[in-house]
């Protein structure tokens, strides 16, 4: 019906907490074009993670609808979501929690390939070949497959998580705070890896982050969220240099920058 990759209509999600309703996402209308690199920025509680979980079909909205490549996925039962699962893959914030400590790295990465739901979409992808391919793609040694996650450093674990996401040859990669649990030096490596992969594999990319600079580096489009709503969106550089809302301007102003010149401590404020 349209050429959109994702489209949402009045997407709303409320959680129940101790008998009280907590709105996490309210009336979000969003269009994402194929091949887009979209960054979603917001502070804690802005609803950014809720939004991408709804896009990935990992949660069901309270009301509103989501289309993926023209198919409405909101009402679809799990057994008919195979195409979505094969096409949309996620990378999470903390690789310590996103890798099962009791599975070998090889089994973790090939888990998507073993899913009965995905098999029809993957027409006979050979597990071992694909495992070798994706390990190479994220710069890990082939013998990593036989080891357990705790034998790897934080940056390497995030590479394993990225390899898992790549395994079923997805069209879309959704990364939820992919570098905020990592050290500064590792952060740059993982950002470089993501940039390279997105270009090499021709992926669409959706990045959720509290850090505007991370999103600016990875994405060409930007959506700023606050309290469950999108308050501003547009091309990254435009939003970054000429924010149209006060909130975005405040967000930008609050980013700490390295003070290299002389001056009193705190003078930059």
């Amino acid at each position: 019906m349209s050429a959109d990759l994702f489209r949402t209509e009045r997407l709303t999600r409320r959680y129940h907490n101790d008998g009280r309703e907590v709105p996490a996402l309210t009336d979000v209308d969003l269009r994402i074009a194929p091949g887009a690199r979209l960054g979603i920025v917001g502070e804690s509680g802005s609803g950014k993670s809720t939004l991408v979980r709804l896009l990935a079909g990992l949660d069901r909205p309270t009301s509103g609808r989501v289309w993926f490549e023209g198919t409405q996925i909101t009402a679809l039962p799990e057994r008919r979501r195979g195409f979505l699962r094969a096409s949309v893959q996620m990378v999470f914030q903390d690789p310590r929690s996103s890798l099962n400590p009791r599975m070998r790295v090889g089994d973790i990465i090939t888990e998507p390939l073993r899913s009965r739901l995905l098999r029809p979409q993957l027409d006979g992808l050979d597990h071992r070949t694909r495992l070798a391919e994706v390990l190479a793609a994220v710069d890990l040694e082939p013998d990593a497959a036989d080891r357990y996650p705790h034998e790897f450093s934080g940056g390497q674990r995030q590479r394993i998580a990225i390899a898992r996401a790549l395994a079923p040859k997805p069209e879309v990669l959704i990364a939820d705070e992919p570098v905020s649990a990592l050290d500064v030096s590792v952060r740059a490596q993982v950002l470089n890896l993501l940039t390279d992969l997105v270009a090499a594999e021709g992926l669409s990319l959706i990045v959720v982050s509290h850090d505007l600079l991370v999103v600016r580096h990875l994405c060409d489009e930007l959506a700023v969220m606050r309290a469950g709503r999108i308050v501003e969106s547009g091309p990254t550089e435009q939003v970054y240099t000429h924010p149209s809302t006060e909130y975005t301007a405040a967000l930008l102003a609050a980013i700490p920058r390295i003070r290299t010149g002389p001056g009193e401590p705190g003078a930059s404020r």
Binding site: R81, F92, E111, P112, R114, S115, R116, L117, A161
Partner: protein, 270 residues
């Protein structure tokens, strides 16, 4: 230190198991036949631990008692694990009303301790090894269900389950690949600790005459008999109690040792 616990636990459990196995083939004397001329012999070269008020060799009865102890433990813990663990996993993975129903049933059973269940069963059917096993087993179900549920909830909250779902892994795949392997260690620990509790419960029940009846020996009913002679032959009341305590200690130590040994994340830190 932790490894020492594991080894000590294995040793104690091994000794009890050995005693039970040996008793199947050999005991120094007949553990049941009353010998009127041999009443209340002190420990010595013939009767290592002496004889009881019926003239029966106490060591022989201790060996056979180990068998009953293990049998009741295995059956009741097995029953509790086979029913409780899947229920707990179901509750944890399904959530919602299924969780509520399972946990309420578990609360109900929890309110009825093994002793009271055993009293009810014993007054209907008469006390036997079977009523003891059933009541201990049923009363232990909630513990397994709770442990399995808590573990399942923890696993289900982890991002790797979300990642698995995002990869199209089915409920069964998540249960089999993610939940089961991750809660297996806690269930192993619970089995060991539950075994210790079962031994204590069996001992209490047979002490009160609510489990295996005379003349078949159990450590609990031996203590009941020994109490009648406490002013004459106090040592009689020491051996079976010591056996119970060491068996319970063994299974508790084994459980604690397992807890640390089975967790790869803890091993990494150590």
């Amino acid at each position: 230190m932790k490894k020492a616990q594991l080894i000590a636990g294995l040793l104690l459990v091994g000794v009890v198991t050995l005693a039970a196995v040996v008793s199947l083939f050999w005991t120094p004397f007949d553990p049941i036949q009353v010998v009127p001329g041999q009443r209340l012999q002190p420990p010595g070269p013939v009767h290592w631990l002496g004889t009881d008020g019926f003239g029966i060799d106490i060591f022989s009865r201790m060996l056979v008692g180990a068998r009953t102890t293990l049998l009741v433990g295995i059956i009741s813990v097995g029953l509790a694990a086979v029913i409780g663990a899947p229920l707990g996993m179901l509750a944890g993975q399904a959530g919602g009303w299924i969780d509520d129903v399972v946990m309420r049933i578990s609360d109900v059973v929890y309110a009825l301790p093994a002793l009271l269940l055993a009293m009810l069963l014993a007054s209907v059917f008469g006390a036997s090894t079977l009523t003891a096993m059933v009541s201990i087993g049923v009363a232990s179900i909630p513990a397994f269900a709770r442990v399995a549920r808590a573990g399942t909830l923890q696993v289900m909250a982890a991002d790797y389950v979300l990642a698995a779902r995002a990869s199209g892994t089915s409920r069964w795949g998540i249960a089999g690949r993610h939940v089961a392997p991750n809660i297996a260690p806690v269930l192993g620990v619970q089995s060991s600790v539950g075994f210790a509790m079962a031994i204590l419960a069996e001992a209490a029940l047979s002490y009160l005459g609510l489990a295996t009846p005379r003349p078949n020996p159990t450590w609990g009913n031996m203590l009941r008999d020994a109490q009648d002679y406490i002013f004459v032959a106090p040592l009689q009341a020491v051996w079976p109690g010591l056996a119970i305590a060491l068996a319970v200690l063994g299974f508790n130590l084994l459980g604690d040792g397992l807890r640390d040994y089975l967790d790869p994340r803890l091993r990494e830190v150590a």
